[in-house]
Amino acid sequence: MAIEEDPEGSELRALDRVVSFASRRVLEIGSGDGRLTLRYASKAASVIAIDPDEEAVAGLAAERLPNVEVRAVGAEGLELAAHSVDVVLFAWSL
């Protein structure tokens, strides 16, 4: 039997209380393998998911979500245009 994280969906419910992902451009810092990304990405206009763990982000990239761009980089190395995202999400990464 596999490990199952937050099957209750508590994390996404809590996020939904404080921010809307609907049609927003999202930068997720610390996406890892996309455990959280996969739960909200369909609502967002676009997602840039970054994590320095190359192996983990490869797993997310393999999902080939059309609106998700995956980068193997940490926040300190990220190059992004000024004021180009609507939501920045530190996913257990601060």
Partner: protein
């Protein structure tokens, strides 16, 4: 950590939102149903989580952001067995472990609650931050 908050402030739109999700500094438990069988030895994780709290507080104090909302929730991770959960935590968490006594108590509890799965319980806080105008764009 404050540097990261300062940096992304220049990336988000002026009416955008920065959201931080991280565990609280409280101890993470191992449970079977609602019975606590022990706590995860998470090494310095509480200190790291407290540092994340401090980074948010510093960014607010420095005038970079205003806190909009903060919401706490419980995050459960289930294993098929206690051995599977222990292995997952050992491999996925930084320097964390479940000790033998907790493993033994969990096995006892699983015998009392047939069909149940062991789980870890973490308290997590979600904080939404609004960039404050005129505090520099951080780029």
């Amino acid at each position: 950590m404050v540097d990261a908050l300062r940096r992304v402030r220049g990336m988000v739109t002026v009416d955008g939102t920065v959201v931080d999700v991280h565990p609280t500094a409280s101890a993470s438990a191992i449970e079977v149903e609602t019975e606590v069988t022990g706590y995860i030895d998470a090494c310095d994780a509480p200190l790291r989580h407290a540092a994340a709290d401090a980074a948010v507080a510093a960014a607010v104090r420095d005038g970079l952001y205003a806190i909009e909302q903060a919401v706490e929730f419980t995050f459960y991770t289930y294993g098929g067995t206690i051995d599977e959960l222990r292995e997952y935590i050992r491999d996925s968490w930084r320097d964390a472990r479940i000790d033998e006594a907790t493993v033994g108590r969990t096995r006892d509890a699983l015998r009392r609650f047939p069909g149940s799965r062991p789980r870890s319980r973490e308290r997590v806080v979600v904080t939404s931050l609004r960039p404050r105008r005129g505090a520099g764009n951080g780029v």
